[in-house]
């Protein structure tokens, strides 16, 4: 504590510079943020990141499964039932329409679904981590 009395400095007539007196911080300024937790790989950070990894990997798995069960099954279907190749859609052979035509928009749909969901996972993850930054938990 600084002594407030001016008489301690007799040589100069000026008052001493003011000194701010503060107590120790009530809240720990070094409180960890969740972002620091995943950065420094604490067990808690591992839980945070593990949840994101599982969500993203599960999403990737579901998209690849959807690809495998549609486009991926076509060779097997046509091998088991070659008669399908003689069918015509709008005058064109079914096999050409299904494999060489409809595959592409389907791939685009799968990709679009993936991008939307993956970005949602990341927004949720950022919101989860952002909760602890600069404000108190409720």
């Amino acid at each position: 504590m600084t002594d407030p009395r001016p008489s301690r400095q007799p040589s100069s007539g000026q008052p001493p510079p003011r000194v701010r007196v503060t107590g120790p911080p009530r809240r720990a300024a070094t409180r960890r943020t969740p972002a620091a937790d995943i950065d420094e790989q604490t067990p808690l950070g591992g839980v945070y990141l593990g949840s994101l990894l599982r969500a993203q990997l599960g999403l990737a798995g579901r998209i690849l499964l959807a690809l495998g069960l549609t486009v991926g099954l076509l060779p097997l279907v046509f091998a088991v039932a070659p008669g399908l190749a003689t069918l015509r859609v709008l005058g064109l052979p079914l096999s050409w329409v299904a494999v060489g035509g409809l595959s592409y928009p389907w791939l685009l749909v799968l990709g679009w679904v993936y991008v939307r969901r993956a970005e949602r996972h990341e927004r949720d993850f950022a919101a989860l981590l952002g909760r602890g930054e600069g404000q108190d938990p409720p």
């Binding site: 950065d39 993203q56 999403l59 060779p75 494999v99 060489g100 927004r123 981590l129």
Partner: protein
């Protein structure tokens, strides 16, 4: 038959490529740091550039001819080349961008902290790059022979020379703009002729492409031969679905995205651009069949079809247009591959005293000359086929490395090297056997002709097994690295 349209087309494409290149060069010189500028490439432009680089001789020329000869089973090439981007999107696109790696060896070294893994990856990049450059040069030989009537060596030498000049003179800086231009040129060069030819076909009331007769295998999208045919088709599907992410010139493009989210949106746009382009080759095959194009000369079907359907001036103009597109296909893919291979050679294989631009130029010459000489010496083995083998090698090596490296913290350097060796040696031995011995009969030849269905599981099992056995050598920073790869950029991390 006159050579004039072909000559005009080749000269125009060369001039346009060099002009766009120098324009882009000026743009990129106005920024202080080339790499920072590259990272701000918008998804639309970047996707066009990826499409331009990716659509090679095999896509432009090869598959249409194969479809004419072998029918619907060849549809799996373009479908697989497109689906490969979906697999890349869901498994590696955003994490790969966030890794900050510029090439595959960079990624391997950053992830595993091992120079040995880097050396193995560099060797594989050069091997896959050369395997993929061979069919580009072969396609150039076919195209210029068909369009100009020139001897076989002219095409590879012309393409090689233009690539050397544009890449070696510093044109690699402007490659994004050039490649984007090439995509739209290629799409126009395939779309416009086929639109005109379809109108002519409707006017001619020519017969429908016949694939409906009983016992006609042309419309069955599976290779013939029962179980071996089914194996061949599925192995091809696996190679193309998984091999795309391992191609050396594809990975480099992801670095130019601003962040992981942009990398995803770029890949989505690539899916759309490729899907539009790949609708066209089957139309060429169908028209070729309707007009009775000879199956023997099917390698140049795309170039021959306009004259076949529309004799006279119109056919000549359209021939010039498709020749221009084909030439653009060789130039863009060859440039991208040459840059990727030369970059690795300059970093990892040139002597220390040859550093910087001089080293890169020497590496470019080596990167172009080796496959060029090989094309002139080796016999023809089919454009799309050689590309398919390059995909098989990429799927058996870099696909497991990338997927396990991005999603599994337990990968060790020893496991990576063992898996790359198993998948790489296995698939390359199969490639060598297939290229040397053209007779295919029985299961052994079938397994070797399409190795992906056994070499990919072999590589994955080796990588996981050896990593488990050497678990104590897993790099200490693996967990931290995975945090970087998967955390969105909005979360403030120490990304130094």
């Amino acid at each position: 038959m006159t050579a004039l349209p072909g000559v005009v087309a080749v000269v125009l494409v060369t001039l346009a490529t060099l002009a766009v290149g120098t324009q882009g060069l000026r743009l990129s010189r106005t920024t202080s740091d080339f790499f920072v500028a590259s990272r701000s490439v918008r998804p639309g432009l970047n996707a066009s550039a990826i499409g331009g680089e990716y659509l090679s001789a095999a896509s432009f020329l090869g598959v249409a001819g194969l479809m004419l000869t072998f029918g619907a089973e060849m549809l799996w090439y373009p479908v697989g080349w497109t689906a490969g981007y979906l697999v890349l999107l869901v498994l590696v696109a955003a994490p790969l961008r966030r890794s900050g790696a510029y090439t595959l060896p960079d990624f391997a070294e950053a992830r595993l902290g091992s120079r040995r893994v880097r050396a193995v990856c560099s060797t594989l990049v050069v091997a896959i790059g050369w395997l993929y450059l061979l069919p580009q040069f072969e396609g150039a030989a076919l195209t210029l022979s068909a369009a100009l009537g020139s001897p076989r060596w002219v095409g590879p030498v012309v393409v090689g020379a233009v690539v050397l000049v544009s890449v070696g003179s510093g044109g690699m800086r402007s490659i994004t703009l050039t490649q984007a231009f090439q995509y739209w040129l290629k799409l126009t060069a395939l779309l416009l002729p086929v639109a005109v030819l379809l109108v002519v076909w409707v006017g001619d009331r020519a017969v429908l492409p016949d694939g409906s007769g009983p016992g006609d295998a042309w419309s069955v999208p599976v290779a013939g031969g029962g179980a071996t045919g089914l194996y061949t088709t599925y192995s091809l599907v696996l190679a193309t679905f998984l091999g795309t992410m391992g191609l050396p010139h594809v990975v480099v493009r992801f670095y130019t995205n601003p962040d992981g989210g942009a990398a995803r949106r770029t890949t989505l746009a690539v899916l759309a651009l490729l899907g539009v382009f790949y609708l066209l080759p089957p139309v060429y095959a169908g028209l070729g069949r309707a007009y009775g194009a000879p199956e023997g000369g099917s390698a140049t079907l795309v170039l021959d079809l306009p004259r076949l359907v529309l004799p006279g001036l119109g056919g000549e103009v359209l021939t010039g247009l498709v020749t221009a597109g084909a030439f653009a296909a060789f130039l863009s893919t060859s440039s991208g591959l040459a840059v990727a291979v030369a970059g690795v050679l300059a970093q990892d294989a040139t002597p220390r005293r040859l550093s910087g631009v001089a080293g890169f130029r020497v590496a470019t010459v080596v990167a172009v000359l080796v496959p060029l000489v090989a094309t002139l010496v080796l016999p023809d083995f089919g454009v799309a086929r050689a590309v398919g083998l390059a995909f098989a090698v990429a799927a058996s090596t870099f696909c497991p490395l990338l997927v396990l490296g991005i999603w599994w913290p337990g990968l060790t350097p020893a496991g990576a090297v063992a898996g790359l060796a198993a998948g790489g040696l296995g698939s390359m031995a199969a490639v060598a056997w297939t290229l040397a011995d053209d007779v295919s009969a029985g299961w052994v030849d079938t397994l070797l002709a399409q190795p992906a269905a056994w070499s990919v599981p072999l590589a994955v099992a080796t990588m996981v097994g050896v990593s488990r056995a050497t678990a104590s050598t897993a790099p200490a920073h693996a967990g931290r690295f995975l945090v970087r790869l998967h955390t969105p950029e909005t979360v403030p991390l120490d990304r130094g």
